[in-house]
Symmetry: C2
Subunit: 117 residues, 2 copies
Amino acid sequence: MLLRIDPESSAALYDQIAGSVRREVAAGRLPAGERLPSARDVAEALDVNLHTVLKAYQQLRDEGLVEMRRGRGAVVSARADALAELRADAAALAARARSLGVSGETLAALVRAAAED
Amino acid sequence: MLLRIDPESSAALYDQIAGSVRREVAAGRLPAGERLPSARDVAEALDVNLHTVLKAYQQLRDEGLVEMRRGRGAVVSARADALAELRADAAALAARARSLGVSGETLAALVRAAAED
DNA sequence: TAGTTGTTATAGATGAACTATAACACTTCG
DNA sequence: CGAAGTGTTATAGTTCATCTATAACAACTA
């Protein structure tokens, strides 16, 4: 499990961490049932405060991507398998968008809008 | 053209405005060549500062979604037609994600990751 | 020329983000 | 049981992006 952050980025640290985890899950490197590294470990590894990592984890919990409990840690939910299923379709859509000159940010916004209708 | 913002939302105002415009474009209600309302008009209508609107417009310009020039205003670029083409595919993907219990935010993150690979 | 547009500059106020520390509640394991 | 590890909650302080306000400037249109 490799989590990366860019301190220079304007994006919030906890958003970067959450995004990094989503990426691992979507890639299948974090299958359902797998435990995420403890927030304290991640905080130390990334040289970041514990709360910042926990805020990222809670964001993922609110999305239903992980389940959290005291003493047990954060575990990837069964929904992760569904995500992996969608990956190929998402890649195809991204490829088509690229060939049309549409940016990733614009495409993501389009998808989000479609999902919320 | 209807732009809406939620002052209570935690999302930045300029992100909400940019997202609102993307939505209009994706829905085809803002076709290529169409002019966006002037930043000053939007600022007054939404009771927001001029700079906040301009920051949203510049974000859209950086994405290539609009073209801006002094005196002329912001015009939807030809790329908007490509966006409309992608709309059906995005809707299909969103529907599939919903049936799998995957949130819009998670799906958008997945797509963004796919687009940036 | 007059009016409208985006652009740039400066400066201040506010609040989210991030940090630091500590204690607490629950689970697992020896 | 006790110890160690987990997420949770609380408090408090610092930093910095966001948002505002005002003003002037440059390019385009009518």
